[in-house]
Symmetry: C2
């Protein structure tokens, strides 16, 4: 511990998880000025600015390792207290577990893992949604304890396990396919046909175009950052897009969509990364996530 103050560390963690000094104060049942004093005292002890005072507040580079430490201490403390007091002592001892998951996993297979958690495990889940190419950043910054991520290389201090691949199929409404792709997936067709893209971090459609054509094209794009709205927008014929096979199957069976590249899917390998911690809650979640992933991913 090198003399660091646990209350100050916990306060730092609350400021970043809640996003502001005021919200952290509400969570900790103290005044905003007490929160501010604690963070300042910790910054003086470390000799570094730890939190960038923005909306929301985020950890600085120097703050990230301390935030990770704080998260680990809080998790271990909660579990030790829960063990000491017995399993059914109410809300005060629930273990908060912060996890980041990519949108498509969250909308399809991930919730089934929550259903597999052992009874009596008193958890408070703090799930975040982020693009699979960016989830590892939240792990590195100490904001979350575990991540479903496309990053294969272990984040420092983390353990990584392969979960399997999420498979995507390229879908379009039949009318859209007939209008744009009657001559096949040519570079000219792909440059002119609107693509549905989740958000500016989502590079899946653009990468698929490069795989198909060998070219970097700049098609018109609709940004639709909601999994149900994404496939609904495709069904309505506004553009083509890559849809998780779990969702694609229904659209293909009903005839709402056609596969515009039959036999050519996109597989995105996913990994489970988590802090190296002896935490019962984290171990239980890891086991549940791995079991469901083994059943549903490729």
């Amino acid at each position: 511990m090198e003399g660091l103050d646990f209350v100050q560390l916990r306060t730092l963690a609350a400021v970043v998880s809640e996003g502001s000094f005021e919200a952290a104060a509400r969570l900790l049942h103290v005044t905003p000025s007490a929160v501010s004093q604690r963070v300042k005292a910790l910054e003086e002890a470390v000799g570094q600015v730890l939190v960038r005072r923005a909306r929301p507040c985020v950890a600085t580079e120097a703050g990230a390792p301390l935030l990770r430490l704080a998260g680990q201490l809080v998790l271990l403390e909660r579990e030790a207290l829960a063990d000491a007091r017995g399993p059914l002592t109410g809300a005060g001892t629930r273990t908060r577990l912060a996890v980041v998951v990519n949108a498509d996993s969250l909308a399809t297979w991930f919730p089934a893992a929550l259903a597999r958690l052992p009874e009596g495990l008193e958890l408070s889940l703090d799930i975040r949604q982020e693009d699979q190419d960016h989830t590892a950043e939240l792990l590195r910054d100490g904001v979350v304890t575990a991540a479903v991520t496309a990053q294969r290389e272990a984040v420092q201090g983390c353990r990584v396990r392969r979960l399997g691949a999420m498979r995507y199929r390229a879908l379009a409404a039949p009318a859209m396919a007939a209008t744009h792709f009657a001559e096949g997936m040519t570079p000219a067709a792909l440059a002119a046909a609107p693509a549905v893209v989740f958000d500016r971090k989502d590079r899946l459609q653009h990468r698929f175009i490069r795989t198909l054509t060998g070219q970097t094209l700049d098609p018109p794009v609709h940004y639709v950052p909601s999994v149900p709205a994404f496939s609904e927008t495709i069904r309505h014929g506004l553009g083509w897009g890559l849809v998780p096979e779990q969702i694609a199957e229904d659209d293909l069976a009903s005839g709402a969509c056609v596969d515009i590249t039959p036999g050519r899917q996109v597989d995105v390998p996913l990994y489970w990364q988590h802090w190296r911690l002896e935490s019962a809650a984290l171990n239980a979640l890891t086991a549940a996530v791995r079991a469901v992933a083994a059943d549903t991913l490729r």
Copy 2:
């Protein structure tokens, strides 16, 4: 125009919509240094810092009105060009329309409005997702042209129309309801039972607790920021939560969930706010949104 440079304004808009100088440069097919020079020149002309250089870049308070102006000019320019050139001149003249929608609307009724847009309207939709209590901020900051919002008061320069109310029902899995609410929705039960909450901006569950009990309680919370995962988490019995009636109906019919406050729903009135602009694209979207809302909201 007071002597403002259109190219500089368009560059400012690109920096904020894309989030960085580099991404704006890619969009505009110029160098990042050209982007930087244009923004600096505009800042000198106005005598104010217009962009906070952060990740992502955001408009300062002084930048917001200029961003709004830039968005309006770009929209009107695109439409004038499209009119001049005829409707089918390819991707270059697509009108980009930035809209912010709350997650539950986006996951349920909103995409049907996209299906009602007239054929041949060359749009590029830039949809953002935000809590209905915060969507108006993006309108005020000039990031979007229109919003589905809970805010009834018109944002400056905007027109507002009532869309109807989104109705929510309080659901829990039967086992969870039996464990926690056998004695009814008492303050003690609501303080101990885990609630599923979308994210830290979502106050719906907490407000409902205050309506039911007259008290401000602090129940254990699971944050699940994905509409499909939110209701799936409730189905799996991890907590209770307020679910849009369109989704709730299926869960009640199948027996996956029960209504824990029969006859007591939550109605959230929604409004369509948009810039006062004579834009064909915006007018068409407004007509489509109002028509679908009239069919699906209360």
